[in-house]
């Protein structure tokens, strides 16, 4: 659905003759129906990447196809087949919600603009406010209106740039739920966000990006790569000798004490946990709970981004 090879973009720097590289050698494939999270710090080049993929700005190097259309050769076709939610909603504040959507339905050559506008205003709970100027809307309503605008022409690929940025928790949840619904319809969603918890919940795969792609995989796979799999055994009392005994098991990579908890790093908890439980019981331990230690996406993100910053200094 989105296929990127060596995409790069440079801009002229603030000083004459200098060049700033915003995106460097990005190669990536996003499959149909996938929600792909594109994570990175401010100024990492995420918006520039989205703009290139929406045929808004031309890449300096590299190639990409979006929805089967080649960037630079079929830009109009790309623009026709993708929907974009820009970082700021960019609504016409003096126009009503309905007029805002009607304009875009006509520019996208939607067959029945009135029906499309009605459908999405209804879906996003804005139908009763359709005659109100967009300028009178709350931040959450403006974002919903901007999402409706991105969907009017039923694009198969959606680019959502910070869709919940600045929204209160309730509005953010509404937007997230709507994204989940869109995924259910089989649309491909390219989501840039700073909200790592949101990315963790919504995305099938994530890419960590800072001018270049630092890592790309499913959140679970990135956790495994970064931290391995860790299981915590909550015990009533921990004898230091038990740590040594569990650590000596062939299936265990590492065992550590953390208060009255035993933290074990291992390859396959599904098969190894029963072995450890039996061993602990044999050693006389009272096991209260057993659970897999789940590192947050933030831990993974910060490790990549900070490591990259460290590498550059």
């Amino acid at each position: 659905m989105i296929d990127i090879h060596g995409l790069s973009k440079t801009f002229q720097g603030a000083t004459r003759g200098t060049v700033v590289e915003a995106v460097s050698d990005l190669s990536l494939t996003v499959a149909q129906g996938e929600v792909f999270g594109f994570l990175g710090p401010n100024g990492a080049g995420k918006t520039t990447t989205v703009r290139m993929l929406c045929a808004l700005i031309a890449p300096t190097r590299g190639t990409a196809t979006v929805n089967g259309h080649a960037l630079g050769r079929a830009d109009q076709a790309i623009r026709r087949s993708v929907g974009i939610l820009t970082e700021t909603p960019g609504l016409y504040d003096r126009l009503s919600a309905e007029a805002n959507l009607r304009l875009f339905a006509e520019l996208y050559d939607v067959a029945d603009p009135a029906a499309a506008v009605k459908r999405y205003l209804g879906l996003l709970g804005l139908w009763d406010r359709r005659q109100d100027p967009a300028g009178s809307f709350s931040k959450g309503m403006r974002q919903k209106l901007a999402i409706a605008r991105a969907l009017l022409h039923e694009p198969r690929v959606l680019f959502l740039d910070e869709p919940t940025s600045g929204l209160d928790p309730e509005a953010a949840r509404l937007v997230r739920d709507f994204i989940t619904e869109l995924r259910g319809e089989g649309r491909t969603i390219f989501l840039t966000t700073h909200n790592l918890d949101e990315a963790d919940r919504l995305c099938d795969r994530i890419g960590i990006f800072k001018t270049r792609l630092l890592a790309v995989d499913t959140p679970a796979a990135l956790r495994r790569t970064m931290f391995g799999r860790q299981v915590v055994f909550h015990l009533a009392r921990l004898d230091p000798a038990w740590v040594t005994a569990i650590g000596a098991l062939p299936q265990v990579q590492e065992a550590q004490a953390a208060g009255e908890k035993l933290v074990v790093r291992l390859e396959a908890p599904e098969t190894t946990n029963p072995v450890i439980v039996r061993k602990l019981i044999a050693l006389g331990a009272d096991i209260q709970f057993v659970g897999e230690l789940r590192h947050s996406l933030e831990d993974i993100y910060l490790r990549f981004v900070n490591h990259d910053a460290g590498g550059q200094t």
Binding site: I57, T88, G90, R94, L103, E106, D109
Partner: protein, 262 residues
């Protein structure tokens, strides 16, 4: 063409909610028509007299030929108002285009617009026509009010014929629209660089200087506004229009708008 019509409709729906723009498009042209009529009315007594030949530039007297000096004086006075109908299509589109582009910049609404399948040419044409059409129509309406008012304020037959002459029609119906195109493209270019519509208006307003130059040159007797002069002015403005449209189209490229319009 459908995209251009859609964009024009949106521009009008938005920009005509702005009171400054409404005043510029409606009240100002009306004032521009009533002001000369008022002046002609108040000087009606003086014009009915034979007048003093020394009051008129020799070039004007020569142009009047066999017309009575009093009538010639009235024609001379009337001709001073002709540049108004070339000035109107200049400042009206400047106001519309300035508020339109700067408004888009401040609300950041250009990016979603550029993400649609609209072409650069359609975008430029839509924005330009949305400003040019009201300007030209308002100017023509103002000219119509002026023509209807002339007999009512005591304009003589030769003066009436002057207002209905090819020179006036060339100025209003040929130079006017060309000036409007020039003004709107210039205003779009200026608006792309500033973030305040009033600043854009003031900078673009510099275009009024050449028209004022025509007025003063005529007052001083250096120029007589006639058909050849109007055609020359029209040709000159048309050339400038073509050059500005070329540069305007480059300025309206998506990447330029998104990366350089600050």
């Amino acid at each position: 063409m459908k995209h251009i019509r859609t964009l024009i409709a949106k521009e009008w729906a938005e920009v005509f909610k702005n009171r400054i723009v409404i005043f510029t498009v409606s009240a100002l042209p009306l004032l521009m028509a009533l002001l000369p009529l008022g002046i002609l009315l108040s000087t009606g007594g003086a014009m009915s007299m034979e007048g003093d030949v020394s009051d008129l530039p020799p070039s004007m007297l020569k142009a009047c030929g066999a017309i009575a000096v009093g009538d010639c004086f009235q024609i001379f006075l009337l001709n001073q108002f002709l540049p108004l109908f070339m000035m109107m299509p200049l400042f009206i589109p400047i106001a519309i285009a300035s508020y339109s582009i700067v408004g888009e910049k401040t609300t950041r609404s250009l990016e979603p617009l550029l993400a649609t399948p609209i072409t650069t040419e359609e975008l430029l044409a839509g924005k330009a026509l949305a400003a040019v059409i009201p300007a030209v129509l308002a100017t023509w309406a103002s000219f119509a009010v002026f023509l209807i008012g002339l007999p009512l304020v005591g304009a003589s037959g030769p003066a009436l014929l002057t207002a209905l002459s090819p020179t006036w029609f060339a100025a209003t119906f040929l130079v006017g629209p060309l000036v409007a195109v020039l003004a709107v493209i210039f205003a779009l270019m200026v608006s792309s660089r500033v973030n305040d519509p009033r600043t854009a208006e003031q900078i673009s307003g510099a275009l009024v200087v050449p028209v004022l130059g025509l007025t003063f040159a005529q007052l001083a007797g250096v120029l007589v506004l006639n058909v050849p002069l109007m055609l020359t002015v029209a040709a000159g403005v048309a050339v400038i229009d073509v050059v500005l449209v070329f540069f305007g189209a480059r300025l309206f490229q998506r990447e330029v708008i998104l990366t350089r319009w600050k």
